[in-house]
Each structure stands twice: as structure tokens, then as C-alpha cells.
């Protein structure tokens, strides 16, 4: 089971990809199929099982889109 859990507030995401660059497991990516209220492709977790809950993504996000939980 995944060590970490990430909650993404999709409507706030601006698709800047700063989180994707810092995720050690590279499991964050923009979702090309979705467009949120702000008009951006929001970020999504490609492989939730791999998340270690390090919160680097959350700390890097300029828009406080991500919350992180861990065991």
C-alpha cells in the first residue's frame, strides 16, 4: 500500500508543473483530458501507489493545490 496520500484541489491547479519536477517518483503529471474552471489542465497522480508522502510537491506548489497525508 502507498505510504503517502495526496489530495489535489483540481480547481485551483494552474498547470505550472512545478510539482511534477520535484516529485522523487515522477508520479505527477498534467491531465491532458481535463480542463478545470481556470482553464488549465490540472495535475493528477499517475501512480498513487508509488507516493511516499514526502510532500515535496506540496511545498513546491505556488497555489497550495496539494495536501499530503502519511501513515
Amino acid at each position: 500500500m502507498a505510504k503517502g496520500k495526496v489530495v489535489i484541489n483540481e480547481d485551483r491547479c494552474k498547470g505550472c508543473e512545478l510539482c511534477t519536477t520535484v516529485c522523487p517518483h515522477k508520479i505527477l503529471a498534467l491531465d491532458p483530458k481535463k480542463i478545470n474552471k481556470l482553464g488549465y489542465h490540472p495535475v493528477t497522480l499517475t501512480d498513487p501507489e508509488e507516493c511516499i508522502g514526502c510532500a515535496l510537491c506540496a511545498r513546491m506548489c505556488p497555489d497550495c493545490v496539494i495536501e499530503v497525508y502519511r501513515e
Binding site: T21, L38, Y40
Partner: protein
Amino acid sequence: MKPVFTRPRSLADVSTHYCPGCTHGIVHRLIAEAIDELDIAERTIGVAPVGCAVLAYNYFNVDFQEAAHGRAPAVATGIKRALPDRVVFTYQGDGDLASIGTAEIVHAANRGEAITVIYVNNAIYGMTGGQMAPTTLAGQKTTTSPFGRDVEVCGYPIRMAELLATLVAPRYIARVAVNSPAHIQQAKRAIKRAFEVQVNDHGFALVEVLSTCPTNWGLPPKKALAWLEENMIPYYPLGEFKVPKEAE
């Protein structure tokens, strides 16, 4: 599961007007975290600049004043002198603090005004569409330095942290960056410390934060982080230039 990272209470639960990937948002969060951790939200008053952060008052759950361009330190002085037991901070850009507001920041610092200054240096005038700032790097192209900043004509980028550290009164002066998780952690410590200095020592504290402006640098947000690392940090060294005496 336990929360590892949640939205700080002092950060208003709204979407900001900042461009995608603009690190102003990170700086906002770090300030909100410091306010939360020190539990001072109810006695904190913020002062917003004129610059991209002009609407900062919408983004914090604390009382706020919007200052004229460059005058945030004077406004903060007025607030602090009226209410000495409140925590007052300014949030200022490099055009605001290092250009038009030079006199106000130098003298607030020199008076040892017990305020906290968060100085966001993104080497450009973001709000007005990317004109040269006093901090724009040598050779950097902007809308008013279309051939790259010529240091012979308009001088060298100004290092405010170092300049202000020559003064006697300031208690804490540091430069940090928010272009990587590690730097962000450092930045967080510095910002918290800058509030502590005000709360505990009644002293002046300033943190210069190297920040990105993807829009006006003409770079995608990810590249902007790298540009900051490769171009700004070599010229604007990170570090603490002044620390409270007892901690030296």
C-alpha cells in the same frame, strides 16, 4: 493517515491572480505558515505593495493595508508606532523596495523599526509587464532594456540585503530562494526567524527572497526555476547577512 502538509490557516482559501508557476504564491504560503506557527494571526497586520502582490490583502487571513508604490515601510512604521504590540510586516517587490522605495526601506531599517520585511526579488517589474528593475541582471533583456541590461548605462543590479546589512539597527537580514524544495525549507526558516525577531526582540528584520517571473522572463515555469538557480543565485548569494547578536 496524518496530515504532512495542509493549507496554512492564515492563507485565505481562494485562488490567486498570480500567473501559473509564479513563486509569489510560495512566498505567501511561507509567510502564512510562519504566522500560524507563531500563532500571531490575530495581532498581525500586513502591508501590501504596488506590484504583482498588490492584492496580497486578499490572500491572507489577517488585517491588511495597501501602500503606495515603494512606501510600505513608511506605512508599516505608521502602523507599528500606533500599535506597538502588533506584528507588522510588509511584502514588497524589487521595483517597490529597491527602486522607488529605496529611501523608505533604508530609513525604516536604519531606525530599527520593529517590522518584518519580505522582499521578493524577481529581477523584473512583473505587474507592469516586464520592465527593467534595479535588480535585473547584467545583460538581461526586459521591455525597457531590449538589448539586455547595459551596466555601463544603467548600473549593476543592486544587492539590497548587503547594502542594508551595513546599518547598525537591523537585527536580521537574510537572502533565500524559493526555486527548489531545499531552498524553500531554508526560506521558511528565514521568514519565521524574521517574524520572531520582531516578536521577541522588537527588531527590524528583512528577508530577500529570490523569486521567479515566468511570464515576463518569457520562460515556462519549470525553466524559470532553473534560470533563477543558474543566473540569480551566483550574483545574489544566499545566506544570512545579519543575525541577532545572541545567536551570532
